[in-house]
């Protein structure tokens, strides 16, 4: 029998100190505060003057009021909001930006705290396809209903102030609710409580005269996106004379937007499907030589289609339309954070183009599949598909982003459909159409705007790839039309759609350079 080894003194000390390290001060309540009841609350005197005493009257709502002369950029409001609302590690509902201007004699800078403006005419709410936003009838707080959200992130695109934030973990969007449950108890919102210089307060403002939402936006921040769109009631007050040339400190920061790959795929496949679907419906109306070309090269004599049984009729076009349509709509599902809730997507049809698009394409897909089997359904499929495409276009136009204006979104989406409609009938016409489309897109490369700078800067490579695909497709369509030319054409359209998402100018409140 061996006696247990006696521990070296140092080893014993290591063990002792490691054990001691794991003992907290607090379970023994040595220092923890022995508060008994649950009645105590933050001393209200600290913010009594910073929240309204009474609820808003009809035609009024709560709004943030920021005293710019007191906001000095400490950013406590951002982290207090984060901690007191228990947000995700990287989730923030408030932000502090910077505006600069003036001249050598009078340089000027101003920090700006900003959160959701709880707009009188909220774009997020108006765009939501599942009615996951509500504007509180009494307080006017724009609340996001987390349980309703399907994670489509359309509100993120709609809001001109970059307020709603998508959570990967939760698969939904969340945003500032003005701490409505605190206000309901007479407690100030977290940011109001936490501002060391009392720069943020809650005030009551008039939002409606008669029934139209209209607030006095003369006190809205000058270097922020135009308040006319959503009627933000936030007031930014200052006694300082602000220089004319004030601009956001991050105005020059180029921020390529997320590609949203499922949407890139969907927005390539769907117009393509609608194009083929329309070509299928209109086949009899095309000039005879186009139809002959199609029959000779694709439907009639080409080995693969012939092997699959497509002869001289529109069924190849209709088949491609149905398959591409199904692929596109399937892709769109992968965009959603909560796809199982997507059945509700029709709820917002009165205001949301996204609802309308989903409903129309929901109806269209069976028609498109049907038209594959029954050519008689082709005109209906084509018609509904074009309506759907119009809805798709409007989804982006309705965000009021410059790059997504009707004059760009329309030609791009409808252009893809047109190219699809022509490419199997007249490659030369398709090549010409592609040339026109490319020229039209390229206008956004030369206008000096945000999207131009994005395409010339961080998105230069993608822009070049788009051009190379398009130009080589054009050459092939004329010199050696066939499947390779078609593949290049749609690879080019896919790249264009990628740029459509990445190069968009996304407005926001002033930030800091990064």
């Amino acid at each position: 029998m061996v006696a247990p080894l006696k521990k070296q003194p140092t080893l014993a000390l290591i063990d002792e100190l490691l054990a001691e390290q794991q003992r907290l001060d607090t379970p023994v309540a040595r220092f923890s505060q022995a508060h008994d009841g649950g009645t105590a609350s933050v001393p209200a005197s600290r913010y009594r003057d910073l929240i309204p005493l009474t609820a808003p009257k009809p035609g009024e709502q709560y709004a943030f009021e920021v005293d710019l002369d007191s906001c000095t950029g400490c950013k406590a409001c951002v982290s207090a909001c984060h901690s007191l609302n228990g947000l995700e590690d990287n989730e923030t509902w408030r932000d502090v930006g910077l505006i600069v201007g003036g001249n050598r004699a009078k340089p000027f800078q101003q920090t700006v705290t900003t959160a959701c403006h709880h707009c009188a005419d909220p774009a997020c709410l108006n765009g939501c396809p599942v009615l996951a936003y509500e504007k509180d009838p009494v307080t006017g707080i724009v609340r996001h209903l987390d349980d309703q959200c399907i994670g489509c992130q359309y509100c993120v695109l709609k809001c001109p102030y970059d307020v709603p934030k998508y959570s990967e973990r939760l698969g939904i969007v969340r945003k500032c609710d003005m701490c409505h449950s605190r206000l309901a108890e007479g407690e100030a919102p977290a940011c109001v409580q936490a501002c060391p210089t009392q720069a943020i307060r809650i005030v009551t403002v008039i939002t409606h005269s008669d029934s139209a939402a209209r607030v006095d936006t003369s006190d809205f921040l000058k270097s922020a996106p135009d308040p006319a769109y959503t009627q933000p009631p936030t007031r930014y007050l200052t006694k300082r004379r602000q220089p004319q040339n004030l601009a956001a400190a991050d105005a020059a920061t180029l921020r390529p937007q997320p590609p949203h790959w499922p949407l890139v795929l969907m927005l390539t496949c769907i117009p393509l499907a609608v194009g083929f679907s329309t070509a299928a419906a209109l086949l009899p109306a095309f000039p005879e030589k186009f139809v002959t070309y199609y029959a000779t090269n694709f439907s009639g004599t080409s080995p693969l289609p012939r092997a699959l049984g497509f002869t001289r009729d529109a069924s190849l076009l209709a088949a491609i339309a149905a398959i591409a349509g199904a692929l596109g709509l399937s892709a769109s599902v992968f965009h959603l954070g909560k796809p199982l809730r997507a059945w509700r997507i029709f709820l917002g049809w009165r205001k949301s183009w996204l609802s309308r698009e989903a409903m129309v394409f929901g109806a269209w897909l069976p028609l498109a599949v049907g038209a594959w089997a029954l050519p008689a359904m082709a005109p209906a499929a084509a018609l509904v598909g074009l309506v759907g495409l119009a809805c798709s276009t409007m989804i982006y136009v309705d965000t009021r982003r410059n790059f997504w204006r009707l004059a760009q979104t329309g030609p791009r989406l409808v252009g893809t459909a047109g190219l699809a409609g022509l490419v199997m009938l007249s490659p030369r016409a398709a090549a010409f159409a592609l040339l026109v489309k490319l020229a039209w897109e390229t206008r956004t490369f030369y206008d000096g705007g945000v999207s131009a700078r994005l395409q010339r800067g961080p998105l230069r490579a993608a822009t070049s790839i788009r051009d190379i695909f398009a130009l080589s497709a054009m050459v092939l369509l004329i010199a050696a039309p066939g499947w390779l030319a078609i593949a290049l054409l749609f690879a080019g359209e896919l790249t264009e759609r990628y740029l459509f998402f990445r190069a968009v100018d996304a407005p926001k409140m002033p930030g800091v350079p990064s």
Binding site: S79, E187, Q193, P513
Partner: protein, 738 residues
Amino acid sequence: MTSEMVLRPGDFGLGRVPARLAPAATTNMVCGFCSTGCSLKIHLNAAGEAINLSADPDYPVNLGMACPKGWEALTPLAAPDRATAPLLRDPTTGKLGPVSWERALAAFTEKFKAIQARQGKASLAFLSTGQIVMEEMALLGALAKFGMGMVHVDSNTRQCMATSHVAYKQSFGFDAPPFTYRDFEESDALIFIGANPCIAHPIMWQRVMLNTRKPEIVVIDPRRTETAMASTLHLALQPKSDLTLLYGLAHLLIARSAVKPEFIAAHTNHYEEFAGFVAEFTPARVAAETGVPEETLHRLVGIIAERERVSFWWTMGVNQGHESTRTAQAIINLALMTGNIGRPGTGANSITGQCNAMGSRLFGNATSLLGGYDFANAAHRTHVGSILGIEPSTIPTQSSWAYDQIIDGIDRGEIRGLWIIATNTAHSWIGHRRFAELRKKLDFLVVQDMYATTETAQIADLVLPAAGWGEKQGVLINSERRLGLVKKVARAPGQALSDFAIFKLIADAWGCGELLREWSSPEATFQILKKLSRGQPCDFTGIRDYAHIDVSGGIQWPWTEEDERTKNSGDHGASLSSDVGLLWSQLQQRRLFADGKFFTADGRALFLFDPPRPMPEPPDAEYPFILLTGRGSSAQWHTGSRTDKSAVLRKLAPTVLTAEINPDDALRLKISAGEQVLVRSRRGTVKAVAFVTPTVQPGQIFLPMHFPAVNVLTFPSFDPHSRQPSYKAAAVAVIPAS
């Protein structure tokens, strides 16, 4: 989903809190970032673990507020890259790998003892920090100097507060910032020199905003900072012309007869020489050298002359300069000559940087012997030796080399072993490329830190994993001399140990554990430090124990046994009104020198001055810009070793290095906003993104100091008295990157 966002009453004096983070108890402790010393209310779960926090509404420092770093103070503790075991560099693979504490201690002692055997005791040095608690600093200083025989030790407080320390010590006889934060509220004119409290000390700025006396707020800073925007008068002087400006103000005050002869006669020395010296600083000369118009000088002097309570506040813009000690003393001189000291709302007040810079200044055992004593003074050595129960002969008879001298010592081969504790030299030291080079001259480098990922830990031979703030106990001293408590509310990860425990282990392994037997715990050490403070200006013998600090809302030094017995306010020298509330608030806000007695031998403050010297590396044709550095965001701290661990704080600071440049310069150099530029100095070139803004003057470039690239550029020059590096003046060139 919705349930994630439900709030419920938080109890414990809290408002509503997230239901999933509802506390079972709370406890208050001071924040471990900056020297403001805010109290945070830590929310605890049933196991006593910290789960959230809010600002303490009842603390006399922060009055229920915190800056973003404070709100995020717990987050860096949970970072995935915490050091969880000692790491030793394997000589064959050259990689750091985990080892046991036993092995780590053996490596530490064997390597360091071998170095000392070869090169002498003084060939070992340490560089520590203002970020650990006072008890740990003192234990480290005692262990290193009395136990291990080190001579040269210093800390990163050299980079921030050495100037204030030396300036006060020379002028007042002791390193004693005289103010209390109430002075922000009680001042008629606040003059900020090289300070941007809106960003650097937001909670102090809160106190300024609570001032109801319609104060003049004067900011002296080359940049149009956030604080300059909020000022009533901004003097955008030329960089490093502050000493000339301050002498010019003294000149004009004398010319206006705005000085207080009675105060000067009763409480100061060398005023006449000073008055003679500033005679040549005429407004015309000062205006020409500083770029501040004469009429602005007169306006500022009018403010100082006419307002009853004038307070002067300075921080890094002054402290980090090539003649910083005299600059700080030029500020002290202004306060002395106008009698703006010892009264509410007055003072020559240094705003400190790190959470425990003030503790380090008293107990770092580097420049001064523990407790503010003098190594060179035999009586002091005997006194300290008797309190600690050690032979006075074990106490070195000279003070340590400063940080830069230790670095030079490495270069000369005299320092061969270096121990770095809770600082990030490879990032923060001025002109830091040289440090990376010098690393090769060290036989053994030990880094003790919360993270093994800091630039310095990455080049270490041995990394010791440390517990952080919130994982240990101890005292921090803030800018206004307030002792505040840190508590253990979170478990350190893996094998990480508090710095205190690591020092104890090293003492044991080194064979000097017996020498430090009395230093058995942080609180036992606190009792030793109390004894060391007795009779010193910083006497805090009236503080019973940690619990006393905890219930008192922190306690400012001095707090003697006599004060505790009589509850002396220290402010009026007499007992206070019977109004308990008033009594309490006055006890919590105490300032020094109400009686005009300073800590010099004759009780008089000194006017100290020297002629200004040109900046050591002025701009020239090749490097035409002056590089300014400073705090870029309230959300960044030091080298980001902790603040970068919080996703929220990362969001609140620039993610890329931005170079602020005036629009005139940008136009001339064809640099557009958002464009990549190269900033070049004689020491290197770095890439930055141009931020075109008129808030920096033409001919100047501002870079936020938190990016490692910045100290590639800075020019290593040092104040001759404080040895503090001059981070805010280097000659650089700027060109577009493409």
